[in-house]
């Protein structure tokens, strides 16, 4: 504690109040003059409500942690995009009219693009927490920053991590069938798949590609097709509901691939683990994740576990937290809430003590953090362990997957 009070005069009051806030149940700094007004836009109702509400969970506990780090307080202004691009845009405008000095959001690529335009037009910085469509940071925006991997980045790390896993377990499938959900993320991943894969010498050949409707109620046809290929591994990009449906079909149609390699959400989520129990063990997900060995990650994990004991820390929480971290850090360095100063400060961000895997948070000229690394996590005994890359792992991978009928 004494170390922090010896900081620059400028931050003394902030740090002291920050320490107080760490014990405050809501973690929101109150007795403070210089707080940054941050508008957080998430889809908390509508089709994407599940993810938006999940992201929102971490917003509640961020204040305390940031205060602990001696970072300035954030006044959070919540906006519900209602999973709709019209609402996203008008909400963004509304928050800015109410004084938001920085925006964070918004998960969906379409809604995020609409918000990005508003941000750019009004000259208010936007820090994107989650949205993988590459074009967003290719538009030449000056006020838009993304601390999240693009689809090509996720793919590249997925293949690299897969090679590591195959080497560590001694199991390398020779054939694979690729299934993907036919939505923005799924198609982006599918498009980059062959191109990125050619840069690695993967042991398997993809024998078939099967795309399915995101609103599918029944995936028996898709699984039947996949099973018919006789492939040894199932590589996929799916969502939570599909992951559960697919697993059930795999069990019912009596097909246990040697490995299930997922490059997207679903297979590691709480709902999946809870619903499937023993049948949920085994799949390895290659996704943006946190480094369990990092100090701040451990701290976030602890705070998260305390506030939400039944919920695992996941991608939604990590990257939403980091977006707010970037905001607070930039505010501190800029010394003011002037949007141009904030944007410049964000561009100069260099946070090494962060939560997500990789060397830290920095932004290139286009506003993208291209140094992010993605991890591999495996479902084990109803919990999640990080199995790759080795430097950011806390367990060894296990392959082949135990057949479903033997569980």
């Amino acid at each position: 504690m004494t170390q922090r009070i010896n900081r620059r005069q400028f931050n003394k009051a902030l740090a002291a109040a920050g320490a107080v806030s760490a014990f405050h149940p809501l973690g929101i700094v109150r007795a403070q003059s210089a707080r940054l007004k941050v508008g957080v836009l998430l889809p908390r109702s509508g089709v994407q409500a599940g993810i938006g509400q999940d992201c929102h969970r971490v917003v509640q506990i961020t204040g305390g942690i940031l205060g602990d780090l001696g970072l300035p307080g954030l006044e959070i202004m919540n906006g519900d995009t209602e999973s709709n691009v019209d609402v996203a845009r008008s909400r963004a405008e509304r928050l800015i009219s109410e004084g938001a000095q920085l925006l964070v959001g918004a998960f969906d690529s379409g809604q995020t693009t609409a918000i990005a335009q508003v941000a750019e037009q009004r000259g208010i910085p936007l820090v994107i927490n989650i949205a993988a469509a590459p074009p967003i940071t290719e538009q030449g925006y000056k006020f838009v920053f993304r601390n999240f991997a693009t689809a090509p980045m996720i793919l590249g790390d997925a293949f690299a991590n897969q090679l590591e896993v195959f080497a560590a377990t001694g199991v390398a499938p020779k054939t694979a069938v690729f299934m993907h959900v036919n939505d923005t993320f799924g198609v982006a991943m599918q498009k980059g798949f062959t191109g990125v894969m050619s840069k690695f010498t993967m042991p398997y050949k993809v024998v078939d590609t099967i795309a399915y409707d995101p609103a599918a109620r029944d995936l028996s046809v898709e699984v039947a097709k996949a099973k018919a290929t006789g492939a040894e591994a199932l590589v996929l990009v799916s969502r939570l509901n599909d992951a559960m449906l697919l697993t059930r079909e795999l069990v019912k149609q009596r097909w246990s691939p040697k490995a299930i390699l997922s490059m997207g959400p679903g297979w590691y989520e709480d709902q999946y683990l809870k619903t499937l129990g023993k049948l949920g063990d085994g799949p390895i997900s290659f996704v943006p994740w946190y480094d369990p060995n990092k100090k701040l990650a451990k701290r976030l994990e602890a705070a998260h576990a305390k506030a939400y004991p039944d919920i695992n820390l996941n991608t939604n929480h990590i990257y939403t937290f980091e977006a707010l971290l970037v905001a607070a850090d930039a505010f501190k360095r800029a010394g003011s809430a002037d949007p141009k100063a904030l944007a410049d400060a964000i561009r100069a961000t260099d946070i090494k003590d962060n939560v997500s895997t990789g060397p830290g948070i920095q932004f290139n000229a286009k506003g993208q953090n291209d140094k992010l690394k993605n991890s591999a996590i495996q479902n084990r005994d109803g919990k999640l362990v990080v199995v790759a890359p080795k430097s950011a792992s806390n367990a060894r991978p296990e392959l082949p997957m135990k057949p479903y009928d033997k569980r």
């Binding site: 209602e82 691009v85 405008e93 693009t113 335009q117 508003v118 074009p135 538009q139």
Partner: protein, 333 residues
Amino acid sequence: MIARLLEGVPRRGLAMLAALLALLLVFPQFASGYLLAIGFLILYFAFVGQAWNIMMGFAGQLSLGHSLYVGLGAYAAAALYVHFGLSPWVGLGASIGVCALAGAVIGFLAFRFGVSGVYFAILTIAFAEFARIGFDHFAWVRGSSGLFLPVANYIENDLWNLRGSPRMFYYLMLGLAAGAFVLCHALLRSRVGYYWLAIRESPEAAQALGINLFRYKMFAVVLSAAMTSLAGVVFAFYYNNLFPEQIFHISRSIELILGPIIGGIGTLVGPLVGALLLTGLAEGLGELLLALGVDVPGVKQVFYGVCLLLVVMFLPDGVWPPLARALGLNRKG
């Protein structure tokens, strides 16, 4: 010609319209970014509601798949811009063409095969869904990964390429909405308008009088589709990204018909009143809940649904007819 358009319109009504137009013209001067965005949305829904109204209110065909035309129009102009750099003012020719064709096909299939009422509505839904899934697999427009328009700048207003400030888009939309209003008024006054009225009131009698049902119903459908396509073009260039899943979705079709139904089907002012009321209601409810400190997602939509329910139950002809009577304008529309 102007005199003919103005003949018979109550003085009061004209004065009110003029006042409204003046208000809308100066609105951006004192509106915040947020209010301007809302203003754009209201005009957008007023325009697209007016276009839909032509098919429903004037020709009596319930279309529940109007998002088809918004989407086709949007994609046509956007794809031409992205691939060939064609200005949307040129691209909209393609949009109108494609949508008119789509409308013609749907109209032809429906009228020749005698599909009407609920069945026609379901047919339109089927076509919109067909487009949604089809475009998801359409590589030239990037399928479900979305079509992104390159964004240049927001400082200057480039009207030719529709790149510019929200204010520019607001005035563009105002022009479209006002134009649609005048066009519909002129049409209602013309021979076509009276034929439509006859067809709506009693198709058999109209046919007996020698009115070619097929031709005039087709005209309504094609016109409605073509007008809606323009809304799609503006949408594409305003938001700069298109996803089939979102633009062809049935919720969008429902969204754009709420205005005219609540406002008053078949009336001229109905779509505008409806759009104003609905957008105002949605935002107002949001503000109210915020003021009360309620931050539960979904509550706003429940209240919105209840309001819709009440209006539908107690004001079956929409809000405009009783409002018009109250304002002393005893002409419908």
